[in-house]
């Protein structure tokens, strides 16, 4: 009996350690001490800060807004973690924040938050929400007037990566390593193929999907297979499984374009094979939306796409980029970027394409 109790205690301790490790811990209030009457936002992260990408970008955007607002804006960050055990807390957490009633707006993002958000919108019709990086289906949820949906034109930045990869390729064949075939990944993919074709009409594009966002070893096997088949530069859009493409590129002396964070800066050992990275500027988009909301002009009940013109996406263009990419290619890429901003080039998007159209596009550049 005593032993059984001890074993239960130890198992509980293990579990507790796990949860702490997942970063499912409590709130991390930022700053605090807001003056009365300030506009207050709550940022609920379906992950943790320190990812050097998505969540950090959101937090930096709000921090910058707070610094420049001179006390008129304040916010609180809640790091909910991204583990399977953390996801059960998403809905209670967002409902708690709604019930508090002290936040002018609750900001959250990514597809894992969608169900919790829908539930919160129904129960708190007077609470305002900003939801980013996943389509919120207004029609299917009764056209709520308290949600503003921020989406990113990943296809635009992916177009530039495709064009650049094709121009830098010696063999005329490039590749794409995706996580799972879904809306966002396909948006990256169609932009990538279009950009590559525009830069080099006879280009071939090999496409592989890992099937998840974690199996980096499989990502490496897939990338090696694509490189062996003739591709010599590739784009990884597969979460941490994308590391497989970067390693395969280093081992075989090929090129790998980064995504979500400046991977050349993040991985100095691999920087020589990473010309640049495609970024989503979550922070900039949130800043624009919040400024509008503080003026009372944010159009709730609608969704907006943030692309190059809005500063929502960008390509890393630092000294490392200038060193790795020849000037004429850089100029050509800048020219394409201007054409996208001005609307002269309209980039394909998976949200307006049928599966058959995407398949036809893939087939038009297939290796075999």
């Amino acid at each position: 009996m005593k032993r059984k109790a001890l074993s239960l205690v130890m198992a509980a301790a293990l579990l507790a350690a796990t949860l702490a490790g997942c970063g499912g811990g409590g709130a991390a209030p930022s700053g605090g001490g807001s003056s009365d009457g300030a506009y207050k936002a709550a940022l609920l992260l379906a992950g943790t800060l320190g990812d050097k990408s998505f969540w950090d970008s959101a937090n930096e955007g709000l921090a910058a807004l707070k610094a420049e607002s001179g006390g008129a804006f304040d916010y609180k960050v809640e790091q909910m973690g991204a583990g399977a055990a953390d996801q059960a807390n998403y809905e209670p957490t967002i409902l708690d924040y709604c019930a508090d009633g002290e936040y002018d707006v609750i900001i959250t993002g990514s597809f894992t938050m969608l169900d919790a958000l829908v539930s919160a919108i129904e129960q708190f019709p007077d609470q305002k929400f900003i939801f980013f990086d996943e389509t919120f289906d207004f029609a299917a949820n009764g056209n709520p007037g308290n949600v503003y949906n921020i989406l990113f034109k990943q296809n635009e930045v992916s177009y530039l990566v495709g064009a650049e990869a094709a121009m830098m390729s010696q063999t005329g064949a490039i590749c794409f390593l995706g996580g799972m075939s879904g809306k966002v990944i396909n948006d990256f993919l169609v932009g990538y193929i279009q950009g590559a074709k525009d830069a080099r009409p006879d280009v071939k594009v090999a496409v592989s999907m890992v099937g998840n966002y974690e199996d980096s070893a499989k990502g490496k096997d897939l990338s090696l297979a694509m490189f062996n088949a003739g591709a010599d530069s590739g784009f990884n859009v597969a979460g941490s499984a994308g590391m497989g493409l970067i390693e395969a590129a280093k081992e075989t002396g090929k090129l790998a374009f980064g995504v979500d964070s400046d991977q050349a800066a993040l991985l100095p050992d691999y920087a020589a094979n990473i010309p640049t990275s495609a970024l989503k500027n979550v922070g900039a988009a949130l800043r624009i939306a919040l400024k509008q909301d503080m003026e009372g002009s944010l159009a709730y009940g609608t969704q907006d796409y943030f692309g190059f013109a809005e500063g929502g996406v960008c390509l890393v263009k630092d000294a490392h980029y200038e060193e790795m990419v020849p000037e004429e290619i850089r100029l050509a890429v800048d020219d394409l970027e201007n054409k996208i901003t001005s609307g002269e080039i309209e980039v394909y998007s998976s949200s307006t394409m049928s599966t058959a159209e995407i398949d036809a596009l893939k087939a038009s550049v297939a290796l075999q």
Binding site: G21, S208, E214, S216, A229, S240
Partner: protein, 289 residues
């Protein structure tokens, strides 16, 4: 296409994807022979993948890193044994606790060592490869023979099998069953650690979070299909490796990716069905004969 399947690169790819599963299959086998289902393979593999890069960074030697990782794998096996054998925790629950601890714990340790939550950003020394074949792959093949000899030709192997077959009968002839099961689980941890080490120190040359990606569970199934024998487990692990490598090559064709991604699992499922059919037939034959 055919040219790709006949290339040496393809054969190397098969061996590469088989190696981690094979180590874990042997690990599952030795635990199962002692009567314990080691579900913690997934967690041990993940911990070992991280320990491998940390130790190789600290020592600068792949061999030292491998040995230290094996020690850690053995310790996790020991912890599991302590829970299951001394504290009488349910073996599945104890394993789940270890797996969950690995998911969060590796990210915590990774953050402490590299300042990043996604992947190890520091340089590592990986196990050497000869002509594309990693030394860990060779070791995994050698371990199949070693484990076979150990289980079937040594007194300790016989004791492990008898404890697994019937604990009470083994104890009645003076075998200390708990000691034997401790040894089996520690050995299981060490073997699994080799597989985890290879994931980040040969297959990849860095650690990324959750990089074991279900290989521990696949190994459990592979071992079971191979009747928990080293040679049987090897054949099934190899089958899975071939399916995986074929799938990777097929992604270059226009076959829908959703179909291709089913191949390794469909192969396993069909294999399992064939296996249980053969076992049933054999049992029927015994019953009738």
């Amino acid at each position: 296409m055919l040219r790709l399947f006949l290339s040496p690169d393809f054969l190397i790819a098969i061996l590469r994807s088989t190696t981690p599963i094979l180590f874990a299959t042997l690990a599952a086998g030795v635990a199962a022979k002692a009567g314990i289902c080691n579900m913690a393979l997934e967690g041990i593999m993940l911990f070992s993948a991280l320990f491998g890069v940390i130790f190789s960074n600290l020592t600068g030697s792949w061999l030292a890193a491998l040995l230290l990782t094996c020690v850690c794998g053995g310790i996790i096996g020991l912890v599991l044994a302590f829970f299951v054998l001394n504290l009488k925790t349910d073996e599945i629950l104890a394993a789940i606790a270890i797996n969950l601890t690995a998911t969060g714990g590796t990210v915590l340790l990774l953050l402490a060592f590299s300042g990043d939550r996604g992947s190890s950003t520091f340089p590592t020394v990986s196990a050497p490869a000869f002509g594309g074949v990693n030394i860990m792959t060779v070791l995994s093949l050698i371990m199949v023979a070693v484990m076979h000899l150990f289980l079937y030709k040594t007194p300790l192997g016989l004791q492990i099998r008898s404890v697994g077959e019937n604990k009470n009968a083994a104890e009645s002839v003076g075998i200390k069953s708990i000691r034997i099961q401790y040894i089996a689980l520690i050995l299981s941890g060490v073997l699994c650690a080799c597989g985890g080490y290879f994931l980040s120190g040969g297959y990849m040359n860095s650690f990324t979070k959750n990089m074991q990606s279900g290989r521990g569970f696949i190994a459990l199934a592979a071992s079971e299909m191979g009747a928990n024998t080293p040679v049987g487990g090897f054949l099934v692990a190899m089958l899975f490796g071939v399916a995986q490598a074929v799938g990777n090559q097929l992604q270059l064709t226009s076959i829908p990716v959703e179909l291709i991604q089913m191949i390794p699992y469909a192969t396993t499922l069909i294999g399992l069905a064939v296996f249980s059919y053969i076992v049933r037939k054999r049992k029927e034959k015994l019953a009738n004969g």
